[in-house]
Symmetry: C3
Subunit: 197 residues, 3 copies
């Protein structure tokens, strides 16, 4: 018996182990490869560039953002160029170049000042859209934006656009983060969808 056990033990080490350890190695390799795949998988995340400063497009962005956040997705909105105006809460001229002052005066302060992208007719289009939304009991654009914030949607203002256009952080609504293209890309590559609006 003792001899037999030694024989078994030797047999296992001498004959069985090659197969066994080959399998173990394969399984370990699979674990490492699967781990790499999982790290490369997108999160349950949606990223948007809001480039447009038109009420209708910005509204679409907030509706999608709210819907995604409500369904449990992580949502980040990067506001750049004209999109930055959606984050403004006041006009300010201190510390700006002449062109930046002009830019500040000529562009809307938040959603209330925005026009629609087509048939705006000096603001009539935007007013009409708002009235039509009210008639259908659809929340106003400002409420949609607030809903997105309440649902945890992150709002990031593009640093380069702020520098160029002269929008200072204190002119923007509270809770806005500031980031660059690297921050955007970092979110985008981990997202299931990325939209440019």
């Amino acid at each position: 018996m003792i001899n037999g056990q030694i024989a078994v033990s030797e047999a296992m080490e001498g004959r069985l182990s090659p197969e066994m350890s080959a399998l173990q190695e394969q399984v370990q390799k699979l674990q490492a490869e699967l781990q790499a795949v999982r790290e490369n998988m997108p999160d349950n995340r949606l990223t948007m560039v809001v480039f447009s400063g038109d009420l209708d497009r910005v509204l679409a962005a907030f509706v999608i953002a709210s819907g995604a956040a409500a369904s449990g997705m992580e949502v980040s909105m990067f506001f750049t160029f004209w999109g930055l105006t959606a984050l403004r809460q006041k006009r300010q001229s201190a510390g700006k170049t002449l062109f930046q002052k002009m830019m500040g005066w000529m562009t809307p302060v938040g959603l209330p000042g925005m026009g629609v992208s087509k048939m705006n007719f000096g603001g009539i289009g935007a007013k009409m859209l708002r009235a039509m939304m009210r008639q259908q009991s659809v929340p106003q654009p400002e409420e949609m934006a607030q809903m997105a914030r309440d649902l945890g949607v992150r709002m990031i203002a593009c640093q380069m656009s702020m520098d160029v256009m002269g929008f200072h952080k204190e002119e923007l609504i509270d809770g806005v983060e500031v980031g660059g293209v690297a921050a955007f890309l970092g979110e985008a590559v981990r997202s299931k969808s990325t939209l440019f609006i």
Copy 2:
């Protein structure tokens, strides 16, 4: 011999099984994890939001949709805001508010009434684009749209936009589905690419 076999059996259960059952557990865990990864992988699917009502942008959407469907992808197009006009087949005023009637009259009925996004000059730009396409034997926008439908591209009209703008389902072309932002997100998260056009 009989004793030897018992010894082997015991040895296998007593000495081999720990390794073996550890491996089995690891393999089962791998199978479960891989299954989770596979369920989280995007389908061979393309989703688009068609927000624009400009002929050139809508045309680009249909060209991409047809190409994707022809290559075997599942394609869904969500028409929202101005994009809804691409799905209209007639004007109708019954059961609409004044603003909805105005919206209905001022916006195009399908692709034939659409202008291009730049240099439209009251419709001349759209006519010129169509003529240039004809001269190069490129199918007209309406044919591109029909091709997309024939290839199984799903067309979904945005419920909220229909409500606000007052476009009723019977005004839209046949075969159009109606859905909301949740339906869009459900497709987008399973898609390899999502475009906002």
Copy 3:
């Protein structure tokens, strides 16, 4: 001993192998499935459709492209419709229809001729944007485009748009590839993000 070894050997083949070969099969199946998943994973890649011919939008595209390429991503930009004008380096009328000649004369030659999408006022808006960028020591749009090229961003001109609008390859800047919707989709499905700009 010899008998014992035979017994072990038989026992292993007769009793152990079923478990072992079952495990081996499972591991092989896992390997194949994981390989399929890996082939279906997106590359570290970003694909863009540049549809717009507005300086601000094209600039945003180049900024994102440069940032992505600098971070090690493979980046492809597909220029279509108005976006094609970003790739032009000269005007040429030979071998064009009347409409194509008109199109060639009415559209900008590269970024220097482009206006901005809002408040352009016949080119003043574009000049103002350029001045504001200069004042903040932000590279000019042409430098951003060159940076993208230097970083290995691929620029692909849409074949169908070239045919329709009559832009010949020799009118475009050097190093531009020509491709169709199939080429775009081939890149898009392997990309982590796809943007329509």
